[in-house]
C-alpha cells in the first residue's frame, strides 16, 4: 500500500461519509476542516527567517513586520474557514449521458450572508471547479465526470474547499447527496437502421404525430425539436410556431434483443441504443424487448429516455 493510499484510507476513516445526505446541506462549523497548505508552511518558514533577521539586527520594525505577517496568517485562517462556513448546498440537475460522454453533476451553492470567493469542488482525483458565490445569488457548479461505462454513475463524495484569501490554509468539507446519472450505452452506428419487418403488425390510417407530412402550425411548446420550428414564419415576424407533421404510414416497430446480430451483451445494448435513436429520428413508433423486460411501443422524448434507461440499467440489480 502506497503512502498516498494509506493517507486516503485514513482520511476516509476520519471523514466517514454520512450518505446520502438530505438537501440542503449547510456547512456548519463542525463539518469544516482546516489545515495549512504547503504554501502556508513555506510562509511559516519565511516568518522564521524574518524573525531571526529581526533578532540578529535588532530591528524593531522587523519584529513588527514579522508579527504583523504572523498575525495576518492567523487571521487568514479564520477568513479561509469563514469562506465556507454556513454555505448551503443543494444537488442540482444531472442529465443522463451516453457512455463516452461527460456526465455533469450539478451542485448549487448559496450563501446566507457575505459573498464567498473561489469556492472549489472536486470529486476525488478530479480537477476542481471553482466558483464565486455572490450574495443573494445561487451559484451553480457542474462537476464533470467522464462516463465510461453504461449503467448508473455515482457522483460519490465531493470535497468542497477553499484557499481564499491568501492560500495559507486549505479549508474543506465533504458532502454526498448520493447523486447519480444514468449512462446510456454508447449507440453503435454500425448496427445500421432498425429492422422494419414488423411494420404490418400495426393498424394503418390513423393519423398520429409523425414527421412525414405537414399537417398544421401550432404555437410553440417548450421541448419541441428545433427542426420543427417554423423559422420562416418567425422571420416574417410571427410568433414562434411549430410545424406538426403526420405520419401516414404509422407503424410500430419492436426493437428486439434477439434481432441484434452481435453476441456480446454490451454490443447488443449498443446496437439497441442506436436503433432507439434512429427510430426516434425517423419518427417511428417503437417498442423494446429485452430479456425479462418489454416496453410497449411509443415515441417521444420520454419514451426514448425510458427505453435508453432500460438499456443502461440492463442487468443492474439495483432498483430504478
Amino acid at each position: 500500500m502506497t503512502l498516498a493510499n494509506l493517507r486516503q484510507s485514513v482520511s476516509d476513516w476520519i471523514f466517514r461519509a454520512r450518505v446520502p445526505e438530505v438537501a440542503p446541506v449547510t456547512l456548519v462549523q463542525r463539518r469544516i476542516f482546516i489545515l495549512p497548505t504547503r504554501q502556508g508552511y513555506v510562509f511559516a518558514f519565511t516568518l522564521m527567517l524574518l524573525l531571526i533577521a529581526s533578532i540578529n539586527y535588532t530591528l524593531s520594525l522587523g519584529f513588527l513586520l514579522t508579527f504583523l505577517l504572523a498575525a495576518m496568517g492567523g487571521v487568514a485562517m479564520l477568513h479561509t474557514w469563514r469562506n465556507l462556513a454556513h454555505l448551503k448546498l443543494r444537488p442540482g440537475r444531472s442529465d443522463p449521458v451516453f457512455a463516452g460522454e461527460m456526465a455533469r453533476f450539478g451542485v448549487s451553492v448559496e450563501t446566507p450572508s457575505r459573498a464567498r470567493f473561489a469556492v472549489a469542488m472536486r470529486r476525488r482525483g478530479d480537477e476542481a471547479e471553482v466558483v464565486d458565490v455572490e450574495t443573494g445569488n445561487l451559484a451553480g457548479v457542474h462537476l464533470t465526470v467522464p462516463a465510461r461505462r453504461r449503467g448508473r454513475l455515482d457522483c460519490g463524495r465531493v470535497e468542497i474547499f477553499t484557499r481564499y484569501p491568501v492560500g495559507f490554509f486549505h479549508a474543506w468539507s465533504y458532502f454526498d447527496f448520493g447523486q447519480s446519472v444514468i449512462v446510456y450505452p454508447r449507440p453503435d452506428p454500425l448496427a445500421g437502421l432498425p429492422p422494419m419487418h414488423s411494420r404490418n403488425e400495426s393498424e394503418e390510417g390513423i393519423p398520429i404525430p409523425g414527421d412525414d407530412e405537414f399537417n398544421l402550425l401550432r404555437p410553440y411548446r417548450p421541448g419541441d425539436p428545433p427542426r420543427q420550428i417554423a423559422w420562416k414564419a418567425l422571420a416574417r415576424g410571427q410568433d414562434l410556431l411549430t410545424k406538426e407533421f403526420n405520419a401516414t404510414a404509422s407503424s410500430e416497430l419492436w426493437l428486439d434483443w434477439e434481432q441484434t446480430r452481435a453476441n456480446d451483451a454490451e454490443a447488443r445494448l449498443s446496437a439497441l441504443a442506436h436503433w432507439v435513436m434512429e427510430s426516434e429520428r425517423l419518427g417511428q413508433s417503437y417498442g423494446l424487448r429485452l430479456p425479462g423486460t418489454s416496453i410497449a411501443p411509443g415515441r417521444g422524448d420520454a419514451h426514448r429516455a425510458h427505453c435508453l434507461e432500460a438499456l443502461a440499467l440492463f442487468g443492474d440489480p439495483r432498483p430504478q
Partner: protein, 656 residues
C-alpha cells in the same frame, strides 16, 4: 457564476500587481544602490511586464543564468564584495529581479511575494523612521493584495476586491501584532557576527581629534541623543556631555590613551544630582555620554579612570538609559606621578613656537589661575571662531593656527590650549563630547545633534583637581551659551528658514514631529528587553523572564485571537428568527396574559379583529402593531427604523 478549472495560470493583471509591489518595495534602496542597479531592475520588471502583457516567451534558462552571473560580478565590482549589508541587499534585489523573469507558475509567484516580504525587511537595515515604516506598510498591503488576487481563481477580482480584503486582513492582524510585539520574549541580538558594514553610515565622535575632525561633524543635523530631564533642564552653559577623554598627543592628533584602567565614581559632590534619561542613537563605538560628571552607571557600562563611560558592547542599536550626574564636583584629590607625567607629555620637536609660548607664560606667570586667564585673553583678543578654518599642515599645525591663521573651531582651541598648558607645566587633557542641545518645547526634551559636538580641556590644579576649561568660550561665548547656531548663525537653508519662523507654525510642526519621533524611537524602535521589563513592572505583571513572558504571550494571543474570531464569526451567524417575529410573540404573550390568547390557527388580521372586538380601547395600538408586523413579515419587509418602532410599540403596549 461560471465555473473555471483551477490551473496554475498566471493572469496578466496578477503579474502586474506583483511587479508594482516589487517596484515599490525596491524603490527606497535605489537611493543608495549604484545607478546601474536601478536600470537593471527597471529592465527586469519591464521585461517581465512585457512578457505578461503580450504573452511572450520567457527568456531561456541559460540567458537568465548568464545575466544573473553578470549582475553578481557587477555587484562585486561596485562594492568590492558580495556579502555584507549593502552588497548583500543589492545582490538579493538582483536575484529577485531575475526570479521574476523565470516566474511561470503560481507557486513561484507566491515565493516571489514571500521574497517581497524579505525586501521589506531589508529596508529596515537602513532606516526605521516613521515615514519609511508607513511606506513599507503600504508595500506589505500591496503584496497581500497580490496574494489575494492570486487566490481569486474563479474570476479576476477588481482593484477594490484585492485591496479591501487585504486591508481587512492586515487591520484585523494589528491587535495580534501588538500583543506579539509587546510580549514576545526578546532575545538580545546579534545571533552571529554582523557584517562589517552593518552599521555603516553611523556618525559620531571618534577616539581621536585632529584640527578639523569635529567641524566636519558640525555639518550634520543627525541626532546624537535625546535627553529627558526629570526636573528642569540645567542652565545651558553647564550642559557638557562627556565623551572620549584624549590624553595622548603626538604633535597633531589627540588620542584616547591605550591603557585605560577602571575608575570609580567616588568624588566629592556638593549638590543634588541631576537625573535624566538618555536615548542614544547607535554610533558603533563603545562610549556612552553623560552630563559632566556622571554619578551612576547604566547596566553594561563601566567607568574609566578619567570618568569616561565605556559600554561593554559597542552601541549598535539605539539604547536608552537612566543617569544621574553632579554638575558641581571636585574631580580627583591627587594625581599619581605616572598620570601627571602622562598629562604633561608632548613631542618637544613639534609645534616649537607654541611650546615656547607656553614656557614663556609659565616663567612670567607662576600662578596657575593667572596663567589660564592670560591664555584666555590671548584667545579672546586675536582669534576668530569659524566653521571653515583654513587647512593646517601636518608638521606643526598648532603653530600655524596660533601664529598664522588664527581662525578655528573648538578642536583648534581645545587642542592648542591643552598643548600650551602642557608646555607651561600644567597637566591637561582634551575632552570631547557634546555641548548644549536644542529644547523641544512640546515635551521638554533636549535634542542633541552631531552639530553639537564639542571639545574642551581639563587641567589639573593641585588644590582643585581636574578643572574644566573651555577655551572656545573665550573666543565665542555664544557657542557655549546658545549653541552652535547662535555662534555661527543658522547652518543650512532649512535652519535659516526655521530661524525666520521662531516658534511659529513651522517650528511647532518641527518640534511636534520631533516629539512623535522621540516616542516612536522609545517605544517602537527602541523597544527591547529592558523596555519590556519596564513595561511589565509598570503594569505589575511580575518579572519579565522569558517564561512568564511566554505565558502572557500565549494568554494574550488567545484572548485577542478569540475576540477577533468571535467578532468575525458572530457577524455571519445566520439570524435565528426575525426581529419582527420576536416582537410579535411578545405582543401575543401580553394579550395572552389577559386572557386573549391567539389561537394557533388564527392569522394576525383575524386575531386583530377579535382583539378589537373584545377590547375596543386596545384597538388603535393593536392595529398599529399588527399592521407593521404584517408588513415586516409578509409584506415588503421592514427597515431597521421600522423594526425599532415596532419593538417600541410592543414595549409600550399595556393590557390593563
Amino acid at each position: 457564476m461560471n465555473a473555471v478549472v483551477v490551473a496554475p495560470t498566471l493572469d496578466m493583471r496578477n503579474v502586474m500587481w506583483l511587479l508594482a509591489a516589487m517596484t515599490f518595495v525596491v524603490a527606497p534602496h535605489m537611493e543608495r544602490a549604484p545607478l546601474w542597479v536601478a536600470a537593471f531592475c527597471a529592465c527586469a520588471v519591464g521585461w517581465r511586464g512585457w512578457i505578461a502583457w503580450s504573452a511572450l516567451r520567457f527568456p531561456p534558462r541559460w540567458l537568465v543564468i548568464a545575466i544573473t552571473l553578470g549582475a553578481s560580478a557587477a555587484i562585486f565590482l561596485s562594492y568590492g564584495r558580495l556579502l555584507g549589508r549593502d552588497a548583500g541587499v543589492t545582490l538579493l534585489i538582483v536575484m529577485v529581479a531575475m526570479k521574476l523573469l523565470e516566474m511561470r507558475t503560481q507557486r513561484e509567484v507566491v515565493l516571489c511575494v514571500y521574497l517581497g516580504f524579505f525586501l521589506v525587511m531589508t529596508n529596515f537595515l537602513f532606516s526605521q523612521s516613521i515615514p519609511l515604516g508607513i511606506y513599507l506598510l503600504a508595500c506589505v498591503w500591496l503584496f497581500v493584495a497580490t496574494l489575494v488576487g492570486f487566490h481569486r481563481t474563479a474570476r479576476p477580482p477588481t482593484i477594490r476586491e484585492r485591496l479591501v480584503p487585504a486591508a481587512a486582513l492586515l487591520a484585523q492582524a494589528l491587535p495580534l501584532m501588538a500583543v506579539l510585539f509587546l510580549l514576545f520574549p526578546r532575545v538580545q541580538g546579534p545571533l552571529w557576527a554582523l557584517p562589517q558594514d552593518a552599521r555603516a553610515g553611523l556618525s559620531g565622535l571618534s577616539d581621536s581629534m585632529t584640527p578639523g575632525t569635529i567641524s566636519q561633524l558640525i555639518q550634520s543635523e543627525a541626532l546624537a541623543f535625546r535627553v529627558q530631564f526629570e526636573e528642569k533642564i540645567p542652565p545651558f552653559e553647564t550642559l557638557y556631555w562627556r565623551g572620549p577623554v584624549l590624553w595622548s598627543f603626538d604633535g597633531r592628533t589627540w588620542k584616547m590613551p591605550e591603557f585605560s584602567p577602571a575608575g570609580n565614581l567616588d568624588y566629592p559632590r556638593t549638590a543634588r544630582p541631576v537625573r535624566y534619561s538618555i536615548t542614544m542613537e547607535p554610533h558603533g563605538k563603545h562610549w556612552v555620554f553623560a552630563l559632566d560628571v556622571p554619578g551612576s552607571l547604566p547596566p553594561g557600562v563601566a567607568v574609566r579612570f578619567d570618568q569616561r563611560l565605556h559600554s561593554v558592547r559597542p552601541i549598535d542599536a539605539r539604547i536608552r538609559y537612566d543617569m544621574t550626574s553632579y554638575l558641581d564636583y571636585r574631580l580627583g584629590s591627587r594625581l599619581p606621578p605616572m598620570l601627571r607625567d602622562f598629562a604633561l607629555r608632548f613631542d618637544e620637536t613639534r609645534n616649537p613656537r607654541t611650546v615656547a609660548l607656553g614656557r614663556q607664560w609659565a616663567a612670567e606667570t607662576p600662578d596657575k589661575a593667572a596663567l589660564v586667564n592670560r591664555a584666555f585673553q590671548y584667545f579672546n583678543r586675536e582669534f576668530t571662531y569659524t566653521l571653515e578654518p583654513p587647512l593646517l599642515g601636518d608638521r606643526d599645525p598648532y603653530d600655524e593656527f596660533l601664529f598664522t591663521t588664527k581662525r578655528g573651531f573648538c578642536e583648534h582651541y581645545a587642542g592648542a590650549f591643552a598643548l600650551l598648558m602642557r608646555a607651561a607645566g600644567v597637566p591637561s587633557r582634551v575632552v570631547t563630547g557634546y555641548q548644549g542641545g536644542e529644547i523641544n518645547p512640546f515635551n521638554n526634551e533636549l535634542i542633541v545633534r552631531q552639530a553639537d559636538a564639542h571639545a574642551w580641556t581639563e587641567i589639573w590644579l593641585d588644590d582643585r583637581g581636574w578643572v574644566r576649561l573651555d577655551p572656545t568660550a573665550a573666543v565665542s561665548p555664544l557657542r557655549v551659551e546658545g549653541g552652535v547656531n547662535a555662534a555661527l548663525g543658522p547652518i543650512g537653508a532649512f535652519s535659516s528658514f526655521l530661524a525666520a519662523d521662531k516658534l511659529g507654525v513651522l517650528s511647532s510642526l518641527r518640534y511636534g514631529w520631533h516629539m512623535l519621533n522621540s516616542q516612536w524611537d522609545q517605544w517602537i524602535v527602541g523597544y527591547n528587553t529592558d523596555r519590556q521589563r519596564q513595561l511589565f513592572s509598570r503594569f505589575g505583571l511580575g518579572s519579565a523572564d522569558w517564561r512568564s513572558l511566554l505565558l502572557w504571550l500565549v494568554a494574550g494571543t488567545l484572548v485577542v485571537g478569540i475576540a477577533i474570531g468571535l467578532g468575525l464569526l458572530l457577524r455571519d451567524m445566520p439570524r435565528r428568527g426575525e426581529a419582527s417575529l420576536t416582537a410579535w410573540r411578545r405582543y401575543c404573550a401580553k394579550l395572552a396574559a389577559s386572557g386573549l390568547a391567539r389561537a394557533p390557527h388564527e392569522g394576525p388580521l383575524d386575531y386583530l379583529a377579535r382583539v378589537s372586538a373584545a377590547r375596543p380601547e386596545l384597538a388603535p395600538q393593536a392595529e398599529a402593531i399588527t399592521h407593521s408586523y404584517v408588513q415586516a413579515r409578509y409584506g415588503g419587509g421592514a427597515t431597521r427604523e421600522e423594526l425599532r418602532e415596532l419593538r417600541q410599540r410592543v414595549r409600550a403596549f399595556r393590557v390593563a
